[in-house]
């Protein structure tokens, strides 16, 4: 006979309860508080008590060119890096999708950029990008190409940061697509062989369509993280030169913890939050669509 006390009967509520309380206290309340602050003009440095001002902070933020530029840059950075990562990551996975000696070692190497501390990665790339002692300008000079200011030049800072993101995250797409390839059923390939399909037809008509759910989910998850990029940008440029590499996360960080303009910072956080939420809903929709 299975014993059924109070605890057992309510296990489905009691087991998750501590985790739920934790998430409510540390995530739901803070997000709610941020929403509330976005309707105030609170600033820690002004010394004035917090007062509710309705949409005033929203209007201030929306008429601030620095915010609009950061908003655009957030999308530029996200799409610039994620599209390249998607294509390159898939190509690498297709190239590696065979059995060969040392495949395990190669897979471990692919993991290294993903698990390496972003701040430290940023520092190493800053050494590469250094205009006077950096190895990249040295390579350009050997190739007789004009040298670049990389992250120290407002014109090249964003592409330079995107390159770092691509270096760090392409392997993740590769690893996910490799796992997806390993799980494909062999039947469609057998019938394609019977029908005499060539390699390119097999790739575009069978492999890629079957991989699409995996690739799309990986890409949107990646895009969500790219929208929130902070560590690499802050540690490499601090949002500079000038404001040339500020995205929403970096700008909101500065408003919160350097200027202490909490009201306006909260408005920016609400925008970032809503953008990320939209992308997250898209992932869940997609997964549900593929599950059916």
């Amino acid at each position: 006979m299975i014993r059924q006390g109070f605890f057992e009967k309510n296990l489905r509520y009691l087991f998750p309860l501590p985790a739920v309380i934790f998430v409510v206290v540390l995530m739901v309340f803070p997000v709610g508080y941020t929403f509330f602050l976005s309707f105030t003009d609170w600033s820690l440095t002004s010394g004035r008590p917090l007062s509710v001002v309705g949409m005033k902070s929203y209007l201030q933020v929306l008429s601030e060119p620095r915010f609009l530029e950061a908003l655009g840059r957030t999308f530029y950075f996200t799409f610039g890096s994620v599209i390249v990562e998607m294509v390159l990551g898939t190509v690498l996975a297709l190239a590696l999708n065979r059995t060969f000696k040392g495949k395990g070692v190669v897979k471990t190497l692919l993991l290294l950029p993903l698990v390496a501390t972003p701040v430290a990665i940023g520092i190493v790339w800053n050494l590469f990008y250094d205009p006077t002692i950096g190895i990249l300008n040295y390579v350009l000079s050997v190739l007789k190409l004009p040298q670049s200011g990389w992250v120290s030049d407002a014109k090249t800072v964003m592409p330079s940061l995107i390159i770092v993101d691509i270096w760090q995250w392409t392997p993740m797409i590769t690893i996910i697509v490799l796992a997806g390839l390993a799980g494909l059923s062999s039947e469609p390939y057998e019938s394609a062989m019977v029908d005499g399909a060539n390699g390119r037809q097999v790739l575009f008509l069978i492999t890629l369509p079957m991989l699409m759910p995996t690739i799309l989910t990986a890409v949107i998850l990646r895009a969500i993280d790219a929208l929130k990029t902070y560590d690499i940008i802050y540690s490499m440029t601090g949002g500079g030169p000038g404001y040339a590499s500020e995205n929403l996360n970096v700008l909101a960080f500065k408003y919160s913890f350097e200027y202490f303009r909490m009201g306006q910072s909260a408005v920016m956080l609400v925008f970032l939050f809503l953008i990320v939420l939209l992308f997250s809903l898209a992932v869940m929709r997609l997964r549900r669509a593929f599950e059916q």
């Binding site: 006979m1 006390g5 605890f7 057992e8 489905r12 087991f15 998750p16 501590p18 985790a19 934790f22 998430v23 540390l26 995530m27 803070p30 997000v31 508080y33 941020t34 602050l37 690498l92 190239a95 471990t108 993991l111 290294l112 698990v115 390496a116 501390t117 972003p118 701040v119 430290a120 990665i121 520092i123 190493v124 050494l127 590469f128 006077t132 270096w167 690893i175 796992a179 997806g180 995996t214 990986a218 969500i224 929208l227 902070y230 560590d231 802050y234 540690s235 996360n249 909101a252 960080f253 919160s256 913890f257 909260a266 956080l269 970032l272 990320v276 992308f279 997250s280 869940m284 593929f290």
Partner: protein, 271 residues
């Protein structure tokens, strides 16, 4: 299929084209950490040089990186531990009772931008005089680790046959002790995946610690970052610091390669 030598050579070339760009930054960082400042700023860049230990001496003796390393360890280990304590039962319940909404609710914490919680935390933790305390840091890092534990463990528990627990319950165990005594010991691989991933993400975290910690509880990423800004870019020492901070995560990954791959591919690949 027979082996075509031209194909093998092409494949080796492809491999080299993939591996060299991935590896080069790590190699260069490691090399630079053993170079003198003169060797680092020399033009053209030097590939052959006499290695020196002075950069590591600076990092560990002058800068007391052991202190920051200890902080990082405390924060990561304790936050991962408590995330397992909270996350494992939640993941079990999600798997057994198909609590989809609950799982989405907890996973949202993985997707939302950390900074939208960080600003309110800063205000509250300041009021509670918890700035620069381990408690504040550990709580914040738990919000990174807990969703990962649930993310990895609920599909894992789902894959363990229910009959095992039911048999134990017929033998007189309560459901909660069947979970602890039967299911958890069978879940080693899943727990290793969850622990490794959440440890690495907590270890690497920069933004939360940047705001919530000061001298006493400062973690390694902040120490490395500060080092960069107030040393008159002593590249060798900065590289030694970078090696120091990356080493644990990389060693863990090498040991637990399969588990890390599992954890990272989970969710995107149905299985």
């Amino acid at each position: 299929m027979k082996k075509n030598p031209v194909h093998s050579i092409l494949f080796l070339l492809t491999l080299a084209l993939i591996i060299i760009p991935i590896l080069f930054p790590f190699v260069w960082m490691l090399m630079s950490s053993f170079k003198t400042q003169v060797d680092i700023i020399s033009w053209p860049p030097k590939f052959i040089f006499t290695p020196v230990m002075q950069n590591y001496e600076r990092v560990f003796i002058e800068q007391d990186f052991l202190h920051y390393m200890k902080n990082s360890l405390i924060v990561s280990v304790v936050s991962v531990f408590f995330s397992l304590v909270l996350g494992l039962p939640a993941a079990y319940s999600i798997a057994r009772y198909k609590q989809k909404k609950l799982s989405i609710f907890i996973l949202i914490a993985r997707l939302m931008p950390g900074i939208s919680f960080l600003m309110p935390w800063y205000i509250v933790f300041s009021r509670l005089r918890l700035m620069d305390s381990y408690i504040a840091l550990i709580l914040s890092h738990m919000l990174i680790a807990l969703p990962l534990v649930v993310w990895v463990m609920s599909p894992y528990f789902d894959s363990v046959p229910r009959e095992l627990e039911e048999a134990a319950m017929v033998d007189g165990l309560t459901q909660q002790s069947a979970f602890v005594k039967i299911l958890l010991p069978l879940s080693g691989p899943g727990i290793v995946t969850a622990t490794t991933l959440s440890f690495i993400f907590s270890w690497n975290n920069f933004m939360f610690s940047q705001v919530l910690s000061q001298q006493k509880t400062r973690t390694l990423p902040i120490a490395v970052y500060n080092f960069l800004s107030y040393v008159e870019v002593d590249w060798g020492a900065v590289m030694a610091a970078a090696v120091t901070i990356m080493a644990p995560a990389i060693i863990l990954t090498m040991f637990f390669q399969k588990y890390v791959v599992k954890g990272l591919t989970m969710g995107a690949v149905k299985g």
